[in-house]
Amino acid sequence: MARSSPLRRLGFGLFCSIIVVLCLFPFYWAMVSSLKSGTEIFATDLWPKALTFQNYGTILQDASFGRSFLNSTLVALSTVGMALLLSITASFALARIPFRGRKRILLAILSVTMFPQVAVLSGMFELVRFFGLYNHCSALILSYMTITVPFTAWTLTNFMREIPKELEEAAIIDGASYLTILVKIFLPILSPALVTTGLLAFIAAWNEFLFALTFTLTNQARTVPVAISLLSGASQHELPWGNIMAASVLVTLPLVVLVVIFQRRIISGLTVGAVKG
């Protein structure tokens, strides 16, 4: 990289800037819109004529929004935790332990996500009520397993397959159990993959809407996307764009912070080669 020509470096810089602008512009627009008031929100000025933080005030004063934020955090963290826990062990067996039926298991796991969400909604609703979890955060955690586990299990199986065989063979000769191999050798190497899949699963759970709307009833259990969709203007039909944008900015920021915190973890995998050597 250091030796590349200035022209190439310029091109690379340009590419990165374009990507950043394309990714961030809608977010920027949401932020600008959230700072506008009244009719100005329909205007196309790139910067509001008069800044107002009123929209943020409305959102932050709403106690139920704080509650839904807490619910979302809880649901997303628990979902990711459970999904990773379940799929780390499963994918270790699927990737590293030869046994009969693993092909069928992998396909069965995948088939769980093949149905459109709206089709499983009613069945899931009955299940949730049967278990008495209706209007309860745990109903969401449970139903999100069908969304996240197939993804995490497959991705982790894939990454575990890529780890060189010599590593575990040495450990097996040393008499280590499978569990020790998994925890002591595989997990450290896999940390970038774990962080990435965890992050993607977190976002999936954080943003899920249909299940969250159907399986919860009161503000005590509702999550952020539902809360946003339930925001509404002073009169019927009116969509409170300013409030919706402010709320979207508020819920996206923690995710950005999360990425900034975890991004070092994503690159720590560069040491994979070193471990092997």
Partner: protein, 292 residues
Amino acid sequence: MSWSREKTAWAFVAPCLFVLLSVAAWPLLRTIFLSFTDAQLEHMSGAKFIYWENFKALFSDKDWKQSVYNTLLFAACSVPCETLLGLFVALALHKPFKGRGLLRAAVLVPWAIPTIVSARMWGWMLHDVYGILNELLVRVGILSAPLPWTASPELSFWTIVMVDVWKTTPFMALLLLAGLQSLPQDCFEAALVDGVSKKRIFFRITLPLLRPTLIVTLIFRTLEALRIFDLVYILSNGGPKTMTMSVYARRYLVDYANVGYGSAAAVCLSLIVALITILYINVGRHRILEER
């Protein structure tokens, strides 16, 4: 040894299978069962078994055919775009450079915004009279007059593809980046020492090594693309020209309260998804399913 090994493997897999089975089995079996009945939302208990009637009706419906075509075209257009762009971004993020953290955080933003919000946001930005996108493009001179991005049937399909690419490229990029990060570094070092050109390294070493990750990522992306719902539901004008299979299924399941027929559509959708997944696995010859 062999016996206990198999036992260990099952012990490792069991919790995952147990949870999935207990959560997913009933909803899935129920949908499959209902697809063979004439169940209506108002009187589910009075549903009669009607064998393949729903499927026969489904296959003769031209709206269903149109929505199958739309969905396949959508997946065929958006997934390659996302993969290619995602690969570029992943390669860029793989290089150490100043501001990489910023780029990584920025790239994830589209994926992090809840779809119900970002779809509305795009609808807002793409509005033909007060949308910022038309305004900017007209001001810069790329467009001579504002375009009805989401209203015209021809345009709105591509608009939805565009927004989907915007939204899901980060997903691709991040997974591929994780794949790149876990490649053994020594191959590259050896190749560089031997003076192999960067282009050759990419096509001869990086890409083949990345293939397993690429295929898994593609499988999940295609799965999602074939089930696309929110974006179409919010952005399109609701006509049959932009209808996808999921939107079609929802229409019958919820709006028309025709649960049997809607379930049949859902079952067909998942069969198509399954078929394409198996195709991917076989054509991509992914080792994930090979016994070793």
